[in-house]
Amino acid sequence: MKKKIAILDIGYGNIASVINAVDYLGFEQKVEKDPNNIKNYTHLIIPGVGSFLVNSEIIHKNKWVEEIKKAANKGVYIFGICVGMQLMFTDGDEGGKTSKGLNFFSGNCKIFNNKKKLKLPHIGFNEVEHSNSKIWSGIPNKSSFYFVHSYRIKSTENKFKCGYTIYGEKFISFIEDNNIFASQFHPEKSHKVGLKLLKNFLSLK
């Protein structure tokens, strides 16, 4: 089957950076604004800049949730970035109230536990302890990736393969389950290691 890559334009993501990264890696991509077309692709990227609440409202008002879930069940490879990852969990608190995610992974997206009076947001490059699974091929463990967020997912079910980062506490910075992948960090902003991770994802077949 011919590879067909879509970058989902839900409305608030920084899609320009992801487009450039995919282009730079030599893959053809299309920006997709219509959830009804998702079924036509082999790879989907859900980019992220934006609050959980706003993105949650958008995906639930339109047919995004339904179509993304259908694609996931069909085996389409999906990669969520930053808020795109947070949306894959059960729910999130950002925006003043708890709103629903896609529920691919069980877990709640909450603000960092700030008993240690950490500076928030968590901004900058930080290490990811990864699972050495196929998508991490060629990337040294504890490589540094770029983070910019105040909310995080602390735990999920053991059945999922996770990567972890420490900022005052250990949180999930990467997660995968069969064809679904997601990173709290921005691979498209993380120099060569980030591009390598995206390339590994886009090369899956």
Partner: protein, 265 residues
Amino acid sequence: MLNKRIIFALLFKDGFFHLSRNFRLQKVGDVNWLINNFGFGKTCDFIDELVCILVKKNPTKKDKIDFLNQIKIIRKKFFVPLTIGGGITCASDAKYYFLNGADKILINSKSSDKKLLRNISNLWGEQSITIMVDYQKDQNIKKDLNVYINCGSKKFMKLNEFKNKILNNITCGEIILNSMDNDGNGMGLDLQISKQFKKDLKSPLLLMGGAGKPKHIAEGLKLKNISGVVTANLFNFLGSGLEKSRETSFNSGVSLAKFEKKIEL
């Protein structure tokens, strides 16, 4: 643990990037000139973030288009986090920058506009907002510091008052303290200013203005309450300047990200 950050800033006005000395601008060249003559590409391999600022008072739509066209060239070649600022007066200005590749937007003149900051935060999250505070010593009372807006042209209020009334009460992701007195002089950062911000703020704090040598960057990064140092000093830090700054900072015990160079794409 989280690493500290070395951030490079590019200042743009009327078709060209500029050097700044005490907020007086000197034309340098466009982005291709930076890449071809100043090794801008290599510079990007050693920075944690890039900030691009349109340093023009009340920029027009055309000014912003010209500015973003230059950034577009950068975005296609270099994969570093990008903050874009200059002329943001409403949420749709911010949206325009986000759609053109900003991971964060930078606000200066409108930093006291709580409603604007709340609107942007509600849509893109508070982590997406960087506040830039341009400050300068008072001409008459030297121990006093004043905050300026509109590209340093308009005195706004005393820094202490600005800290208590504005910075402690707004929604933002981080704050850059930019010394107009030290801007472009290459004599070192205003390290003393960090003492005034020791306890109050919850957001990460960055220093800008005055770095001219790698050791100046290391000095700023060594301060406990400083998360990063920003420099716009094109002549001193393009080429290998930031590579040396990273090395000097590492050797001074500063925790910085190590970027893997041997990755095969």
